[in-house]
Amino acid sequence: MDWLQLLVFPAIRALILIFVLLTGFAYLTWYERKLLARFQVRYGPNRAGKFGLLQPAADAVKAFFKEEIIPNHVDKPVYLLAPALALVPALIIWAVIPIAKGTPAIADVNIGFLWILAVAGIESYGIILAGWSSNNNYSLLGALRSSAQMVSYELPLGLFLVSILMLAGSFSLVDLVEGSRQWWEWIWLWLAFPFFFICILAETNRSPFDLPETENELVAGFQTEYGGMKFALFFIAEYVNMISTSAIMATLFFGGWKGPFAEQYIWLGPVYLLIKVLILLFLFIWVRASIGRPRYDQLMKFCWQFMLPLGLVYVSISAVLAVFLK
């Protein structure tokens, strides 16, 4: 059946993926709170359920039952659209990530890398529109910061992606993971990882690059005027983004689903991926607990004066390596 193949199976896959991601989001908040608490000599959530494991559920219930407040002075259609626009890219970026041998999450397309770049490109819409439609100075400043920041950091991010792409020789992430790499390739890749990670931090608006929502200056930045479930959507978007980008980094730099016996037992693939994602998420939280925040102009300076030239150099050397050593 053609339409079954075309529509129903991908739809079911997508639903499962969304379910997994939203659950993942819920427990990522728990994971972050627990870890941050440990970094800060606290206990973290420990009242709802064993080890506070039911805390995410309690939070969800709370978010659902909050009164929906729409301030009078907002631009209503855009104001309501923005949270959804923030969440969608975070979810759809998963479509091309391989989760087991020969199995991408949704589809194995020949533009996997470009897909990542494209989705990264539209990620900032939710924030920028939220900031504008809220009709609030704090929100506007947050939105301007975020759009400038995301557009800027996309450039070095794209350059690093292009380098990896050149070495891999294929646009498909499935091929990238399954293809073999030489030892020098791994080393060359891992050299880029810290810088790639910095770009990812900026792309996901995570601390220390959480300038669009710095509570110390901009109250809550672009989400100042949001409450209840609409606020929760932004929250979900941020955390799903963390998961998604961690999965991308695991795929690009650490072999994705690969691991001992993952070729034979196909169910091991997602497990390995999950472990790698958890370790990368730990990195996110570790950075948050220990590194201060730069100022907005310093952040932009860092991007344009350091990350971008670095990316260009990396791309050039990668090109030479790809031509002469492969």
Binding site: L36, F39, Q40, V41, R42, P71, N72, H73, N137, Y138, L141, S207, P208, D210, T214, E215, N216, E217, L218, V219, I285, R288, A289, S290, I291, G292, R293, P294, R295, Y296, D297, Q298
Partner: protein
């Protein structure tokens, strides 16, 4: 909208029946002379009404017409060199036997850091009839000392004295429409009707609960000098990083600050007015609530002022306990400053917040051991301290002192050398030494600009002269310099504490003078005299002979000063608190101009304010 209320005017109570007939009395004129008063008399001749020493302070009474000339002379004369104006306050003498003297007096505290001199200048205010009574006015000193701007606004707001030539004479603590100037003696002490309605007849309540009332967007009044051409942002009073209920009106061009107008008074509680209606010993509990992060230092500053006026000798042990408490409080306050500063600059995730509060918790535990309270301690009382230290205290404190230096190193390891931290602080909030002096800044704000001054070392009190410690300074004048100074001050405080714990003498923990300090509880059972003393102190309190005195101590934020004017009764006739946060906060506009919005937050943190003290 002016308030249409008829306040209950209470007669000003001084418990006249209890007072001897000579009370209330005017403060006596200063006697004797010093080099400085002699020089001033030579220069100004008959315009100096009186000059000399009073309670050990140099005091000069000057004709109001010559006040500005005197201030200029004080600042510019090479032999006098009074670089800074610490404080401006005023006295309403309407309840005193004036015999035709001026009702209002303004009182200025000048300080020469280079010569280590303090000078109090008093000037009568000229009055003009007008409005509903007299309008006192006097020349403004803002042209001479820039830092006079806010204190003069405060005097205007609370006492109603107009300052001729002041650039921006608005109310600063009270609401714009407040009907009176509360520190004037005829202003009622409580009993006013609350100026808003809460009756169910109000039409607002018909719709309450069923709908949200349509919010009319009304453009608020802009502070003078601000333009709508730029973006005007309202920071606070419910802003996460204004350290309490401070409101800043920030005018920005892009993310650059054009100007800032702080709006104070949200936490104004009228401590000064309250203090003038409490017996001397009863005001100690109020001092806790001003700078609630350094309650011990506030207790100490107040008690030292009153004790000096009483001429009271404090036992050695009490002195050392006071030093221990004050230094612990300094560490606690600096720890909290560190925690919130890091929080402001680096975000909520930053772990240092919790690390610093963890150590502060230990100090609060120690306070609890000593007096049962953690925040509002009221431990230091007039005559000594409330109770002797418990036995376990010293061991606990020693353990704390053993751990603390490592912890400070730990904090430093986390941020001092961190590039992001340095980037955020270096060069931000720069104050030159001249500006710091002109603005009357004190404490780390002053030392951060390279002025080597610490009241503990330079005008020692409580036996600080017998301790060895260093006063850190920094020439950089920026937030990073002030950060380093405070970190080093914590180390020095640990050093002082170690010395103090090492030589804690045995003996009395409070004065044996039964006319001032309560007799011990056990004595009441066996001694009639003790019972009488107890009764007298608890009902009438003690009297302080007429006079006035300003005394400053170095608390964690700067110079905490108390100015007390006594009329001889059991209550202070005029009680003024000079809060370091108030004067230091004045610098926020100056240091933030041209910087970015993020830097405002850094600057607020670096100034280290406590709104309880700013608003008092």
């Amino acid at each position: 909208m002016p308030l249409d209320v008829a306040p209950v005017i209470r007669s000003y109570e001084t418990q006249r029946t209890l007072n001897p007939p000579g009370i209330p009395a005017l403060a006596p004129m200063p006697t004797g002379e010093t080099d400085d008063t002699r020089r001033l008399c030579e220069r100004f001749g008959r315009d100096i009404v009186a000059a000399g020493l009073h309670y050990g302070n140099q005091v000069v009474f000057v004709e109001p017409a010559q006040l500005k000339a005197l201030a200029t002379f004080l600042r510019d004369d090479a032999e006098l060199n009074y670089e800074t104006l610490i404080d401006v306050t005023s006295v309403d003498r309407s309840q005193l036997p004036l015999n035709g003297g001026a009702r209002f007096q303004t009182v200025y505290q000048f300080r020469s850091y280079s010569r280590n001199r303090h000078l109090t200048v008093v000037a009568d205010c000229k009055t003009e009839p007008g409005g509903n009574g007299e309008l006192p006015h006097i020349d403004s000193l803002t042209g001479v000392y820039r830092g006079a701007e806010w204190p003069e606004r405060e005097v205007y707001d609370l006492m109603g004295i107009r300052f001729d030539g002041h650039p921006d004479l608005r109310r600063i603590l009270m609401p714009k429409s407040w009907p009176n100037h509360p520190l004037q003696k005829q202003a009622p002490l409580g009993g006013e009707e609350v100026p808003f309605t809460f009756t169910w007849d109000d039409p607002e309540f018909e719709t309450l609960g069923s709908q949200i009332l349509p919010a009319e967007s009304a453009a608020p009044d802009l502070p003078p000098g601000m333009s709508r051409q730029n973006m005007v942002i309202n920071m606070g009073p419910h802003h996460p990083s204004t350290h309490g209920v401070l409101r800043l009106v920030v005018e920005m061009d892009g993310e650059r600050i054009v100007s800032i107008d702080p709006d104070l008074g949200f936490l104004h509680s009228g401590f000064e007015k309250t203090g003038e209606n409490k017996r001397y010993k009863d005001f100690v509990y109020y001092t806790d609530r001003m700078d609630y992060l350094s309650a011990m230092s506030n207790n100490l500053g107040y008690c030292l002022t009153i004790e000096h006026m009483l001429g009271l000798e404090i036992p050695e042990r009490a002195q050392v306990i006071r030093v221990i408490m004050a230094e612990m409080q300094r560490i606690a306050s600096h720890l909290f400053w560190l925690a919130t500063h890091v929080l402001d600059v680096s975000g909520t995730g930053m772990s240092l917040l919790m690390y610093a509060t963890r150590e502060r918790e230990r100090i609060l535990d120690l306070f609890e051991m000593a007096c049962g309270a953690r925040l509002t301690v009221s431990y230091i009382r007039i005559g000594g301290v409330w109770q002797d230290l418990p036995d376990a205290f010293i061991t606990e404190l020693k353990d704390f002192l053993r751990v603390m230096p490592e912890k400070i190193n730990e904090y430093e390891a986390l941020i001092t050398e961190a590039p992001l931290w340095q980037e955020r602080l270096t060069g931000i909030g720069h104050i030159s030494a001249d500006d710091a002096l002109a603005m009357g800044l004190t404490g780390p704000m002053l030392r951060g600009s390279g002025i080597d001054w610490d009241l503990r070392r330079d005008r020692p009190y409580c036996g600080y002269e017998s301790y060895e410690f260093e006063v850190p300074t920094s020439d950089s004048g920026d937030c990073y310099g002030r950060f380093n100074i405070r970190m080093e001050e914590m180390r020095q405080s640990v050093r002082i504490l170690e010395q103090a714990v090492g030589n804690l003498p045995s003996g009395l923990y409070k004065s044996n003078n039964r006319k001032v300090a309560l007799p011990p509880r056990a004595e009441l059972d066996v001694s009639m005299e003790a019972l009488i003393h107890h009764f007298k102190l608890m009902t009438e309190g003690f009297h302080v002979s007429p006079g006035f005195f300003y005394n400053g101590i170095e608390n964690s934020k700067g110079e905490l000063g108390f100015y007390v004017y006594s009329d001889g009764s059991a209550k202070p006739y005029r009680l003024h608190v000079h809060g370091p946060s108030f004067n230091n906060l004045y610098a926020i506009d100056h240091i933030s101009r041209g910087e970015m919005l993020s830097d405002v937050v850094t600057n607020i943190g670096s100034i280290d304010i406590v709104l309880g003290e700013v608003d008092r």
